[in-house]
């Protein structure tokens, strides 16, 4: 990607801009609607098998959550075991505290082989660390080979979804991008290109094939890294992953330390949960697993970079730790009513949607205006938690992170109007007589509400912009109860 999220405005203003884009809203509503339908049919199919003695979806979710939680709860020893298994299988293991260290490893491997280009499997972690930009500075071209990543890269665009980074683009826009941009970086798109998805996919196949065949260095992430066997797992659909994992002589895989799964057998619930939650398929077309180097098969030099980049910070948060169970399926994005309307760019990160709203503050810490706006980018409707295959209680973590944002401002010399309002509320809610006083003082014949629009009370104007205020009652419930003895007189 050549775009950057640096300098993005806070969520509310970024969202306002996105909401004005009717084409974007149409694209998103269509795409998320399609995927929600597919996923829910498969969840129903799994649940239909309970009668025959099969595990229901909830049982699978519990197992998936338990595997990932178990991996995290003893993460240091699992990482040491992973390192030992990988080394025994012929891989070279590197450790990277942050993005710069990880990028430097990849660049040095490429340079050691005189490569001026690498082919890449779609990977969230390499997007997180800005690998493509870092390699470009070293004079190394990084070719994205996943179709959606290719669309984003060719379009000088930013990803807006975890699974389908180009979800904000429709077929006509994609055709335009291919026609305009492919020629500059390789095989041009055919002049008679139509906007049929199959035709567009075929153009990507032709464009990328020469890059796959000549590539010396492949770069990947991993969906899972099995500690006891040193097995890395890449789950994909198009075969671009297999191309990058098997054709080059050298493979570098950047793996977040939270990707560990303790044992090979424990891949089971995750491999059943991920494709159903992600693309809405019983199984994705291709899953590749490998441990280090296989003689005469695939890359004969294999590097694995174990990356922290904020993960140990998230791990130290007792409530937030569960977010590291995330298997990047994007089910939470697809069911999120906020995401469906704003799209991913408004979140200002490669991790958008509900998971991004918690993951970014957990990885980076609070304190930056944009990051601090993310935990508030939710109506707390809970659809994300319901869809999450590893049972991350996203609403719980959102509320927890909101409290961290608020706490970080407790020492402010000039409190925000909202903080003052909350202090006022705390005072009136401490004692019913105070609340009664406030209610009477406000004057329930209406002037209070009529004044509301002009008061500096936070949000009053924002409310009234699109919504009428209700007609205020003549008396409060507590006044009615006292006057009528609960309606008895």
């Amino acid at each position: 990607m050549t775009g950057t999220f640096v300098g993005m405005p806070a969520f509310p203003s970024a969202a306002r801009e996105a909401l004005a884009d009717t084409q974007l809203r149409h694209n998103l509503a269509h795409a998320t609607g399609v995927i929600r339908g597919k996923r829910s049919r498969l969840v129903e199919e799994v649940d239909a098998d309970v009668a025959g003695g099969g595990a229901g979806w909830e049982e699978l979710r519990l197992a998936g959550a338990a595997v990932k939680q178990r991996a995290l709860d003893a993460l240091a020893s699992h990482l040491e075991q992973l390192e030992a298994s990988l080394t025994a299988a012929g891989a070279t293991v590197h450790w990277a505290r942050d993005a710069a260290e990880a990028n430097a490893v990849v660049a040095s491997v490429a340079k050691a082989h005189g490569a001026d280009e690498v082919v890449k499997v779609k990977s969230m972690v390499t997007a997180e660390i800005g690998l493509n930009e870092a390699l470009a500075e070293e004079g190394i071209a990084a070719w994205e080979t996943d179709l959606a990543e290719l669309i984003v890269q060719l379009g000088d665009d930013l990803p807006s979804h975890i699974l389908v980074p180009a979800i904000h683009r429709n077929r006509a826009e994609i055709r335009e991008i291919f026609l305009r941009k492919m020629a500059a970086v390789g095989r041009p798109a055919p002049a008679d290109l139509t906007d049929e998805p199959a035709v567009l996919a075929a153009a990507a196949r032709e464009h990328l094939r020469e890059k796959f065949l000549r590539a010396k260095v492949g770069v990947s992430g991993a969906n899972f890294a099995v500690a006891d066997t040193g097995t890395l797992v890449v789950v994909e659909s198009e075969g671009n992953g297999r191309m990058c994992l098997t054709l080059p002589e050298v493979l570098v895989s950047v793996v977040g330390i939270e990707k560990v799964v303790p044992t090979f057998a424990e891949l089971d619930p995750l491999l059943r949960l991920l494709p159903r939650s992600s693309t809405g398929e019983r199984m994705n077309p291709y899953t590749s697993t490998w441990s280090g180097v296989t003689p005469d098969d695939g890359p004969q030099e294999v590097h694995v970079v174990l990356l922290d980049n904020g993960r140990s910070r998230a791990l130290a948060d007792d409530t937030g730790r569960q977010a590291l169970r995330c298997i990047r399926c994007s089910a939470c994005l697809n069911v999120c009513p906020v995401y469906e309307r704003t799209g991913g760019h408004a979140y200002g990160s490669v991790y958008p949607g509900p998971i991004g709203a918690i993951l970014n503050p957990l990885l980076q810490g609070t304190g930056d205006e944009q990051t601090d706006s993310l935990p508030y980018a939710s109506s707390l409707c809970g659809a994300c938690f319901e869809a999450c295959p590893v049972r991350i209680d996203i609403p719980e973590v959102l509320v927890h992170l909101r409290s961290k944002v608020v706490d970080s401002h407790r020492g402010d010399r000039v409190p925000k109007p909202e903080a003052l309002a909350m202090k006022g509320a705390a005072w009136s809610f401490a004692d019913a007589s105070r609340l009664g006083l406030v209610e009477r003082a406000a004057g329930f014949s209406g002037p209070f509400l009529k004044r509301l629009r002009r008061t500096p009370l936070p949000g009053a104007a924002a409310w009234a912009d699109a919504r009428d205020l209700p007609v205020p009652p003549k008396e409060s419930f507590r006044a009615w109860w006292a006057r009528t003895d609960g309606g008895r007189r």
Binding site: A383, L401, W427, L435, E439, D468, A482
Partner: protein, 253 residues
């Protein structure tokens, strides 16, 4: 069984008719619900905005006001969810920061909080509450009752037994209406965009009345329906269930 009504702060100040409907409805079902006047708010507005310290006094008042009752009933899925899922969090914080050292322990002894339809269907075992409401109605399941509490189809089972009521299915019913407490003002553009889609679905049903179990969501949706001069009224479920031939509901707000 001594049942206390937690009317909620928003119903107390803005929608007293909902509280009155709960009282009438439950009396008709044989429960002489009481209103402990010491109650204020469940603390949810503060918790959901991240002001946990500021929620402590509200949660303390909740615990004190309802101590000694057998059950608490509230006409709000959201406030019931707050009592059941957030109070413990506030109690822990109050202990850790020394804001209220006994709150956590007192919460453990607090009576259970039921959302209105849970009390009627599960505790009283009733689905036909003897209501009469001769209108076309569509029902929006609010997120916290749907997902946090899991009230399932209890509200619909109650509505289906109401004489005269013509129930219209709401498309995409399970999608959030966009209210979300302070979300409605902090992210008002997104909130309104979500509300606009909900309102479009409501209007597509041809219903005269939109019913839900949370007046906060209805205030948001009603505000948009009114702004559009749609003619669709919003009513709390309790008011529909309280209506009878002898005491029909006024379909105005």
């Amino acid at each position: 069984m001594r049942v206390a009504l937690s009317v909620t702060c928003i119903n107390d100040t803005m929608f007293p008719g909902t509280g009155q409907a709960v009282v009438r409805l439950l009396r008709r079902l044989g429960v002489d619900v009481e209103f402990p006047a010491a109650q204020t708010c469940c603390g949810q507005p503060m918790v959901n905005t991240g002001y946990l310290d500021e929620a402590v006094p509200a949660v303390r008042s909740y615990v004190d006001a309802f101590a000694g009752y057998d059950a608490i009933v509230t006409p709000s899925g959201s406030c019931a969810g707050s009592a059941r899922h957030q109070h413990a969090l506030v109690g822990r914080r109050a202990s850790e920061k020394g804001l209220d050292r006994s709150l956590e322990a007192d919460l453990a002894d607090a009576p259970p909080t039921y959302e209105l339809t849970e009390l009627i269907v599960d505790v009283l075992g009733v689905t036909d509450v003897g209501a009469y409401f001769p209108h076309a109605v569509t029902y929006h399941p609010t997120c916290h009752s749907l997902r946090m509490l899991g009230v399932g189809d209890r509200p619909l089972r109650l509505l289906r037994e109401v004489r005269g009521l013509r129930l219209r299915e709401l498309p995409a019913a399970e999608q959030c209406c966009g209210f979300g407490g302070t979300f409605a003002v902090k992210n008002s553009d997104t909130s309104v965009a979500m509300g606009a889609d909900k309102v479009r679905h409501v209007r597509s049903t041809g219903a005269e009345v939109l019913v839900a179990g949370d007046n906060s969501c209805l205030m948001h949706l009603g505000g948009m329906l009114d702004r559009q001069r749609s003619g669709v009224r919003v009513m709390h479920l309790a008011e529909v269930l309280a209506a009878t031939e002898d005491a029909p509901a006024e379909v105005v707000r």
